[in-house]
Structure formats: structure tokens, C-alpha cells
Symmetry: C2
Subunit: 350 residues, 2 copies
């Protein structure tokens, strides 16, 4: 057993205070230490039970669905006054699971707390490669990476030389899609919400062009400027007005992979989309997907992406805040675009 195992310690948690309507605010969540945990798996625990120390927590837009009261698709609501959960990286402190030894690092769905007792270990991946930052397993080597990799390479069916547009392009997923598209030989343009993010797209991620959507009063015209020949592939992260403008700029046989629509998540009523007739004229395919459907292909994904990281062919920018106390602001900041790159909460570094 590692040192400290068996102790009873405070276990700080981030909990949901109330179901969110509209834009989430920090005070929809609260941080509390009114809870303790024994740092061992007790003798009577079922086989598979694992005690972990949580290291890095992932802030992802889909979590907004779970902060609302009504179940949306396969996203069950969080429970009021219980810790929220999401993807994260953790270290095994004690284990009745033959697959996980003390000291192993794993990633999967964990609660926003310092320590967690995992009773259903099926959804967890053991981290095999630790020569890259561990936080990467919340991003480029975790759920957002899977989203970007399969969303682009499978849902978008890309071909060399095609014209690719990505919204929310500096985010956890967008920055990767753009780099995968460049590796594929595509022409890549991204949109983001600040000058700093636009610079990042062009300098750090190698996008051909990028623009600040907040500075464009006519998105249809902006897209025509960057895509005089039209768009073959749109990787959709925002929805609403941007989607409507894209539809008027699609090429024949174009594809729209719908990863998210973050501009819509906090609205009481979604924004209208008017230009769907383009789907007929241009034979466009619009396809929604969820990364979970590709989790079974995780090892194929790691084999493909890890060399890019090691050879520095792909960059990954994270926005890491320190400590669970910073968690609520980090999570709700996603929806105002506060983060630059992948938003991570570091609970502990080891």
C-alpha cells in the first residue's frame, strides 16, 4: 500500500447547488470540505473497487446538458448537492481490481473531488504512456482527442486538398481537428472569439487562415471571403448563426460533422436555422456524433496520435487552473470563451 493509505482525510468536492437555466454562473456550484473519505478499499468491498486520487479534471461543453434539470439524450442530470462528474485523470491508491495496481494512472469518468472510490471500473482506461503530460489524457489523448480524431477522419470523410472550416477552433477539439486536417493536406480556416485565439490558430496550430467571428457582422460574407470556392467540410462546434452562414457556403457533396453547438446550450429557445435547403441543392450530409461511440477504438487512436505528439507534429494548448476551488469558474468560463485552449482543473499533480 502507498503511504497514507488507511487514513481518514477531508475530501473536498465541487457540487451542484441548483439546476442551471440560461448561462451557468459560478454560484450554481459550490466547493465544500464537509466530507471525509478513508484512503483504503475496505475489506468487504466488491471485487473491482478502486480508490483513486484525482489529478486532472476535464471541463467540457457537454457538461452543460447535465447541469440542467431535464435529461437530454443520453446525458443524465447531475444530482443537486452531490459532486458533479466528468472525464479526468487519477492515480490508484488502493485496489481490489486485478487490472489496476497501486500507483497505476487511469483516465475515465470521475467525480469532482480529491479522492474517489470507484465501484464501476469498466469505463476506465489505464494510462500506458507517461512521457507526455498527464493532463493530456483529459484532452488530446482523452475524450476531446477521440472526438477530433474520429469526428474528422471518419465522420468528415476528408480528402487531400479539400476546404475545411472549423468553429470554436482554438478549443479542446477544434485545435486538433485543424491540425489533423493540415496533416491530411486540406486548406483549413478556423473561427474563434478573440484576437489572441485567432493568432494562436495561425501561429501555433498552422491554420491557413483564421478570423474572430465577433468582428464579422456578416458571417456569410466572411465565409465567402475565406472560401471563394465554398466549404467541403465544416466541423461544427457552435451552431446557430454560424451554421446558417455555413449552409449558404457549402460545396456540392459537402459534409458537416456536428460535434457540438455551444452557442445554443444556454438559450431557453434555440436559435433558428433557415438555410437547410442547401442540403438538397448541394447534397450535403450533416451528421451528429458522440465520442463515446468511438471509445472502443481507443488503442487505434493512441497509436495514431502519440507519434504526432512525440514528433511535435501536433501542438496542444491547455488552460490549466490550480485546485478544485478554481473548478466552478473554469467550468462556467467555457460558455463565455474565457479559456484559451483545453480547459483543465489540476486537483493535484501527482
Amino acid at each position: 500500500m502507498s503511504s497514507g493509505v488507511g487514513q481518514v482525510v477531508e475530501n473536498k468536492q465541487v457540487r451542484l447547488k441548483r439546476y442551471v437555466k440560461g448561462f451557468p454562473v459560478e454560484s450554481d456550484l459550490y466547493v465544500t470540505s464537509d466530507n471525509t473519505i478513508e484512503l483504503r478499499v475496505s475489506d468487504g468491498s466488491p471485487e473491482g473497487t478502486t480508490l483513486v486520487k484525482n489529478l486532472y479534471l476535464s471541463c467540457d461543453p457537454y457538461m452543460r446538458f447535465r447541469m440542467g434539470e431535464s435529461q437530454i439524450g443520453e446525458f443524465p442530470s447531475f444530482t443537486i448537492d452531490a459532486p458533479i462528474d466528468g472525464f479526468g485523470v487519477a492515480k490508484v491508491l488502493d485496489s481490489k481490481n486485478p487490472d489496476f495496481k497501486v500507483g497505476d494512472l487511469i483516465w475515465g469518468r470521475i467525480k469532482w473531488e480529491e479522492y474517489s472510490l470507484i465501484t464501476k471500473p469498466e469505463g476506465f482506461f489505464k494510462i500506458q504512456h507517461t512521457d507526455v503530460p498527464l493532463s493530456y489524457y483529459t484532452g488530446i489523448l482523452g475524450m476531446p482527442g477521440i472526438t477530433a480524431y474520429f469526428g474528422f477522419n471518419e465522420v468528415c470523410s476528408p480528402k487531400e486538398g479539400e476546404y475545411v472550416f472549423i468553429s470554436a477552433a482554438s478549443g479542446a477539439v477544434g485545435q486538433l481537428v485543424g491540425q489533423f486536417a493540415k496533416l491530411k493536406g486540406c486548406y483549413v480556416v478556423g473561427s474563434a472569439g478573440s484576437k489572441e485565439k485567432v493568432e494562436l490558430l495561425k501561429t501555433k496550430f498552422g491554420f491557413d487562415e483564421a478570423f474572430n467571428y465577433k468582428e464579422e457582422h456578416d458571417l456569410v460574407a466572411a465565409l465567402k471571403r475565406f472560401f471563394p470556392e465554398g466549404i467541403d467540410i465544416y466541423f461544427e462546434n457552435v451552431g446557430g448563426k454560424m451554421l446558417d452562414a455555413v449552409l449558404l457556403n457549402m460545396r456540392v457533396q459537402g459534409r458537416i460533422a456536428v460535434c457540438g453547438m455551444i452557442s445554443q446550450y444556454n438559450l431557453d429557445h434555440p436559435e433558428p436555422v433557415y438555410n437547410l435547403m442547401s442540403v438538397i441543392y448541394n447534397r450535403v450530409r450533416i451528421e451528429g456524433f458522440i465520442s463515446f461511440d468511438y471509445f472502443s477504438r481507443y488503442s487505434e487512436f493512441v497509436d495514431a496520435v502519440l507519434p504526432y505528439i512525440r514528433e511535435k507534429k501536433i501542438n496542444y494548448v491547455e488552460d490549466v487552473v490550480e485546485g478544485l476551488d478554481s473548478g466552478p469558474a473554469a467550468l462556467v468560463g467555457l460558455f463565455s470563451g474565457r479559456n484559451i485552449g483545453k480547459q483543465v482543473v489540476a486537483v493535484a499533480h501527482e
Copy 2:
């Protein structure tokens, strides 16, 4: 040469009077006999030139695009004061085309006139099977049939037992999609715009259920009534409010094949669609397609569908009006749902 060849005769035509805005009306077109044609291919005509007598003309919703002033996708506008054109069946009267003999029957894109001199014969199919009504080559064995067959079997990726919804279900395409879906072992519901059409769906075409959308004030609720488990496949012919209601009723991994959006063609501004977030939650694929992309597979299609017709496993209902004089009313009637089944104009029967 057939009898009459070489004569100069009147050649009645249906011409466009003005570009259409909003709903087309009969007076947007006019019928005239101020034109003559010599019933032979003159000696100096280029190889391939074919003189035909037009028999059956197809009225199809896409023709509305061509009645407008601005080019929409790959649908060029008709020319003012020139005959309109569309798909149709014709008989060869004279030919400098080695593929087409006098007396041959062909279908393809022909002008709305009694006789046509075809100078580009590449797009025409020779009719090989005449044991079925010739008018079928404007419908079940023509463009609408190709649309229904490939649109359903390829774009929708159907599986036995799936829940299928079809709008404009008694139309030229919808009635076939429903029957193909039944042959595939699906549960099939259709919507249409009159009691008579709804009856036709249930009795003649074997739909499991059908409803009159004009009698439903809440389309979302109506669809929930017919699809308590949700919709796997939506064959989209109408767009607008129906699409919005369908989106809230889609099942996970559902597919929407977008064949047309007839409810939108005559509006100055398309209706809004609000519920596209369903595409993410439910991983829905929305795919537009155009039958022209499948014309190269026509013989495969005929081999599959002809036996169904001969064995009476598929019914096909046509609404045939007589004579070019009836053409304008028949064509514009599509947009008010006047037709029951496939709208055809019989210029001549042989």
C-alpha cells in the same frame, strides 16, 4: 419512316411567361401553337439528332426552382417565352442516331411541346419494357422511382423492423418509399394533406398508419402518437415545421434522407428550424441527395423494380391529365397538393 414524317405541322408548346415569385399560378405559363416543326431530321443535321413525338410529361416539384429567376444549385432557370422542359416519355419519329430507331420509345429531359428535335441525345434512356404503362417512365420507372429506390435503400441505410416516417407520402416518390420500406420489413407511417390521400396510403400502398398533417395542430405530439419509440428513418419531402417536429422524435443513430422540402419552395424566406441539437444528442445523419447522381445505375434499378410491378407487389398511382392545355394547371397544382399520386401530363398516348 413512319407516316407523316416530312410534314410541317403545328407544334403546341407550354412556355414560361414570367419568373415566378411565391406560389406559381397557371398564368405564369402559357400554351401556344404559334410554332411549327418539320417532322423529319433534315439532311444537314448533326449525327445523333432525333425527332420525337412527346407522349407523357412529368410534373415534379424541383421544377419550381427552374421557374424562379435565380439559379439554385444545379437547376438553371427556364427561359422566358421558351418552352419549359422536364422529364418525359417520347417516341422516335426520325433519327440520325444509331442508338434510336424510328418507333423506339425513350425517356429523358424533353421540352413541353408536341414534337421535339433532340440534338443532345446523351441523357436519354431507351425504354426496353413496354408491358407496363408507358407513363410509368415518368414515375415509378423514371426519375421519381430512382429517387425513391436509391434514396431509401442507399441514403437511409434501412434495416428490417425500423420505424420509418415519410412526408408527402402519397406523392410520386413517397408512395414508392413507403412500399420499399414495407418490402424491407419496416414499420411505415406517412403524412399527406387530405383524407383521400391518407386512405390511399393505408389501403392501396399498405402503410401501417397515415395521418393528415392539416388536421394536426401539434405535429410533435402527432409523431409521438405514431412513433412512441421514435423514428429511425425520416424520408423528407416537405421541410419546415414537419422537419422541426421530426427532429424532436428521432431515435439514436436515426437518418433523415432529404429528397425535397416542397413546403419551402414558394416562400420568400424559408421557415426556421429550431431543433437541430437533436442531431447531436441522437447522432442523427441528415443527408441531401439528388436522383441525377444515381442515373448511372438505372439498369440495376429497373432490374430490381420491374419484377415488383409485374408481380403486383408494388402499386403506383398516377394522376394523369390530358393534353398540353392542361399542363400549366397540373404543374402548379403540385404546390397546393391538388394531385393524387404522380402528376403526369399526357400529350399523346402513342
